[in-house]
Symmetry: C2
Subunit: 444 residues, 2 copies
């Protein structure tokens, strides 16, 4: 019988440890994947890829106690050597190699993609086909560190605001939003669907915890094949009770974005630099009414309105352009969407019931959030269900929460991959999705 | 056009704000759901349910500027009154009510469950049927705050250990573990499955980030109807490269558990008290070999071994009892599981290939984690696939990662609901699942 007492101390050092705790001339052990080897004749550079970045190791005959051709690209190795300062090396340090231990060797060292180039110059298609390889490129993987910062900030900010994290089922009997875009499956010989959103569940949980959030996958069987749609994505959802109006929800999102930008600046500065990202200012976010901004951009840019009830992608771009030009903001809330384009549970504006107390957040030309106040009154809810010609069947549990009392509430859903995409300046959401699912892509 | 500048300051105070920032005699505004009303004749107590707990409000004729029968149970209200100290009230404070504003009223105030009782005395079946209501009971909801602490600790601890959070697809072409327990669905006229685990993806991502984790739902179409199985649950998964052995994985889990218990003690003390939970000591966790502990409990407790290759539930209980009696530990690692009961990617023990470099963690009589070292060598992996009579078809992308080099690595998966269940002293995993999915339960 042995005892495990906690994380084991390693002899090998990470890059941050080399920078903080080690001194030039010191003997160190490091490990990593051989990212690339540059043989300059008398000297060679072996670049290790580690989780914190690249580490330059120097091979010199006579000093290294092994042959250079003992190292293959894509092998993983442990190296013993001397730490030295070198301004030209990544992070200003390098290791003069003395001993080598091979940890693993590739079966095939001819990589399908030139991952050691600074920018991976290949098609999106190739990047996705060889996903486990393309993400080894330092810039490609950095996007997903930024994504981590965004979701981490969402949770940490909401914990600080008294929210409780919940986990709601993805398999259910009926979709929350209705419509045709639902994946169906067989659940022990019963028909079931995959959740399009945690909408019903997060509302029910407002009656329990007042404020809740969930960060989880959602599934949309939409037959769109566009640069902005995915059939499975990570949704950042929150729902909060005791609101005075839907402005409380927009204010909470503004607070989140402010927090996220601060976290990225402090903890993900390296990745921001690798990707050459300039963070948007989020001091204040303008909010403007749907029909007013539609008219404003139509007038200012000579855009012809085709659909008075929804925003076309081109209009989203124009509204963002308008917000940048007029208010110097990368973000803009568009409020009071037409009732007929919002789901039944959306709260209509009592001052004009053709519109709802709802909003979208546009970021650099694209919708990244949909939110608003919900109906909390049981009778109002059942009347709206009836008025829409819908049935209460399958919504009994949802409606029971309202029957037995629910506070005024609202919430939002943010598409994590889209938010990452616009922040990273990408033009296809697949670029910021680890393993995208779309009409044609079910693998890898 | 308006501006949103961040979270809006509320006039209403939360319980922690009343305790920290308000003084006896001060006029305050509070809101909440009417949990219960106790009319004592000359005086009445209106107990508000708020996210931080219960708040006692006192109704006295002459002081309150409204009628007591203006308040219904299950309504949500905003109250203006005077803060007073009262040792007998929850948190030692109460509000003498002066003004009342009704925020919402229930359509039906006859609650299906007596949620204001300290312990909800009803069947599990009833609790699950009225989930949105039963969770309004203070003890019922506290379990899910503990669950939050466990998952939050997992992420925070792993961030601190250099892990990157990933989001892998739940819809795929092929299951990672194989076998019959896979939910199937139609994906735009192509056969697809729901992920049983993120196994293949997290391994592929070890080649990218060295250390990764994911906290997400997994789906198992198992036809078990037991107290410990769910068909959908939240899996806490990690995978780490550059390990010296599978002991590194167990040590990381030990570190996580130590961190989690500290976080629960500091940030969830209220819920621990509500549930009367005594946290287990996690100074060190004993690790013992599968065949040795099987023999030891057989001998000590006279248990008859039926299956030499797996642990029966009864054996898990006996092993935990043994660990408690012999080593005073609520946790015990059982290591070196038989190869034939572990998946193809498990690393066999080079010293005896009938066993694997793997482990389960048992906690108070039940398996809550499965983990181990994986095969990282491409050839060893393909040979094992062949030896098992499996096909590489559908695993090309997974195998490509190995072909092009992977470090020695391993990982684990923890069932969040089971861990919560054993910590909370429940005997059915449904008690600690927000909306369980099992053979008969697809709603709510």
């Amino acid at each position: 019988m042995d005892y495990l007492t906690g994380v084991r101390q390693k002899e090998t050092l990470e890059i941050s440890e080399l920078l903080l705790n080690a001194e030039a001339g010191q003997k160190v052990h490091v490990n990593g994947a051989v990212h690339t080897i540059r043989d300059m004749g008398t000297v060679a550079f072996v670049i290790l890829r580690k989780r914190e970045g690249l580490l330059q190791c120097v091979y010199e005959e006579g000093i290294a106690g092994f042959e250079l051709n003992g190292i293959k690209e894509a092998a993983t190795v442990e190296i013993e050597g001397t730490l030295e300062k070198n301004e030209k090396a990544p992070n200003g340090i390098e290791i003069r190699m003395e001993k080598l231990r091979i940890l693993s060797e590739p079966a095939d060292e001819r990589m399908p993609l030139a991952i050691s180039k600074w920018k991976l110059k290949t098609s999106l298609e190739a990047k996705l086909n060889y996903r486990a390889i393309s993400l080894r490129n330092v810039r490609e993987r950095a996007k997903f560190r930024i994504q981590e910062g965004l979701i981490r900030a969402f949770r940490d900010f909401l914990y600080s605001q008294g929210f409780t994290e919940i986990h709601t089922p993805k398999i259910g009997a009926k979709g929350a939003e209705g419509g045709a875009n639902i994946f169906k499956l067989d659940y022990f010989h019963r028909p079931a669907v995959l959740a399009q959103s945690p909408q019903f569940y997060k509302q029910m949980m407002v009656g329990v915890f007042d404020r809740v959030f969930e960060t989880a996958p959602v599934f949309r069987a939409e037959k769109h094949n566009t640069k902005r749609h995915l059939n499975e994505y990570t949704s950042l959802d929150l729902e909060m009770g005791y609101i005075d109006g839907f402005e409380d929800i927009m204010a909470m999102e503004t607070g989140y974005l402010q927090y996220a930008m601060r976290l990225l600046s402090s903890d993900y500065a390296k990745e921001l630099q690798i990707l050459d990202i300039t963070l948007p200012k989020v001091g204040q976010i303008p909010a403007v009414r749907f029909h007013e901004i539609k008219e404003a951009v139509s007038e200012k840019y000579g855009h012809k309105m085709r659909n008075p009830f929804d925003l076309e992608p081109e209009e989203e771009q124009l509204i963002s352009r308008y917000a940048k030009e007029e208010w110097d903001s990368d973000f803009v809330f568009v409020t009071h969407y037409p009732s007929k384009k919002r789901p039944f549970y959306a709260m209509d504006d009592p001052e004009d019931t053709r519109y709802t107390l709802s909003f979208d957040l546009l970021f650099r030309g694209m919708e990244v959030t949909t939110g608003g106040q919900r109906i909390h009154d049981h009778r109002m809810l059942t009347e709206k269900i009836e008025a829409r010609g819908m049935t209460e069947e399958g919504m009994e549990d949802y409606l029971a929460a309202f029957k037995h009392g629910m506070p005024p509430h609202g919430g939002l859903g943010i598409g994590l991959e889209r938010l990452t995409m616009k922040l990273a300046g990408e033009d296809n959401v697949r670029e910021t999705t680890l393993f995208p699912r779309d009409l044609s892509r079910l693998e890898p």
